[in-house]
């Protein structure tokens, strides 16, 4: 037997508590904007999507960079061509995924007779704007975390996913309200 539940709990607690603390602040931002969310329930539908996509793309990118660093096809420099290609593909995938899902959400909400109070173009631009900002930041966080943890002798596989999902959840909510303010609804 190599696993013990006490060790699993002891190893999990510190990082989980830190992640939870940051997520609670994301929750506080949601609460201070609750009235706005009640007026535009379509954004309630969008929140798990915005955060989920960014977390997934960041984790995929992180896992690929981690494997690349382990195998040696990616070098620990900002000029690495393979790293840049992965980064560009992540941004491109973010664009396609966010546009597709934003349009889907809009029509699903429309069919589900959810109160809209917002046009398709406005909604898609808010979600896409949030998504692009988020993927930009998340990709750099992912590259930075993967490189830094590898340099410090940690396994990027253990570090990148929790960091990326937590940063993604929090910034996703911050950027969403920022974009709602910019579009001015």
């Amino acid at each position: 037997m190599i696993y013990s539940w006490k060790k699993i709990v002891r190893h999990g607690l510190p990082l989980l508590t830190l992640c939870i603390l940051i997520e609670i602040f994301a929750g506080q931002i949601l609460w201070s904007n609750q009235q706005k969310l009640m007026l535009f329930p379509i954004f309630l539908i969008s929140i798990p999507v915005i955060n989920g996509v960014a977390g997934n793309i960041g984790s995929i990118l992180g896992a690929r960079l981690a494997s690349g660093l382990h195998v040696g096809t990616i070098e620990l420099t900002i000029k690495d061509k393979n790293m840049q290609k992965n980064l560009a593909t992540s941004l491109f995938m973010g664009l396609i995924t966010y546009s597709t899902l934003a349009i889907l959400i809009y029509y699903i909400a429309d069919v589900g007779s959810i109160e809209m109070n917002i046009g398709l173009i406005e909604f898609v631009s808010i979600v896409l704007g949030t998504g692009v900002l988020l993927i930009l930041i998340i990709s750099f966080v992912s590259v930075f975390t993967a490189f830094l943890s590898f340099k410090k002798g940690l396994d990027p596989d253990d570090v990148v996913a929790p960091v990326v999902t937590t940063v993604g959840d929090t910034l996703g909510i911050v950027f969403l309200f920022l974009l709602i303010g910019v579009v001015g609804i």
């Binding site: 607690l13 539908i45 929140i47 995924t97 996913a161």
Partner: protein, 184 residues
């Protein structure tokens, strides 16, 4: 390490996971009334969902490594290593759920608002505990099916758990809030 291959393999998965997130989002928007009835309920939602994701994906990836190390396989599933992993995940679920409730209450003072601490903590523990139980067993079922088919668990458990996890957790928060909300 080709970008085209990344696009071909990941993009469909991203869209499918996005559809799962839309279901989770619809559950959240169906909660609009209960969110207004229980002040501060919305604070805990990102944390509970992130908790589930973190606990169950690490469980999945540990079981994946255990498979590669030859410690568990389809014929030899219910051994002590698996049991220790299950206990570890469940203890973390209950412990962290309690911490979420406490943190949500404490941080609210910084924002000069006061939710009811007991209601929040009870809702989080019920939601976190039940979703923890469901998802831990779902993880084991997924791992078992993956073993029997001879696939690499590392490729499957992450996205599968992320997608099911969000939906099941959101439904558990909804159910728990309606249940507790019935008493206030």
């Amino acid at each position: 390490m080709y970008a085209k291959e990344m696009l071909k393999q990941s993009l469909p998965l991203l869209i499918v996971c996005g559809l799962g997130a839309i279901i989770a989002g619809n559950t959240l928007s169906a909660m609009a009334n209960i969110l207004q009835k229980i002040p501060g309920l919305i604070i805990i939602i990102p944390a509970v969902i992130a908790l589930r994701g973190n606990i169950n994906t690490t469980l999945g990836s540990r079981l994946g490594s255990a498979y590669h190390l030859g410690i568990i396989d389809a014929e030899n599933m219910w051994n002590d290593d698996l049991k220790q992993n299950i206990i570890g995940s469940l203890v973390l679920s209950f412990l962290m759920s309690f911490i979420i409730g406490v943190l949500a209450y404490v941080t609210s003072f910084l924002f000069h608002v006061q939710p009811d601490p007991f209601i929040l903590i009870i809702i989080v523990i019920i939601a976190g505990g039940i979703s923890g139980l469901i998802l831990t067993f779902l993880t084991i079922i997924i791992i078992y099916l993956v073993f029997r088919r001879g696939y690499d668990p590392d490729n499957i458990t992450g996205p599968a758990l992320a997608t099911f996890g969000d939906i099941i957790t959101m439904l558990c928060i909804f159910g728990s809030a309606v249940f507790v909300g019935g008493f206030v």
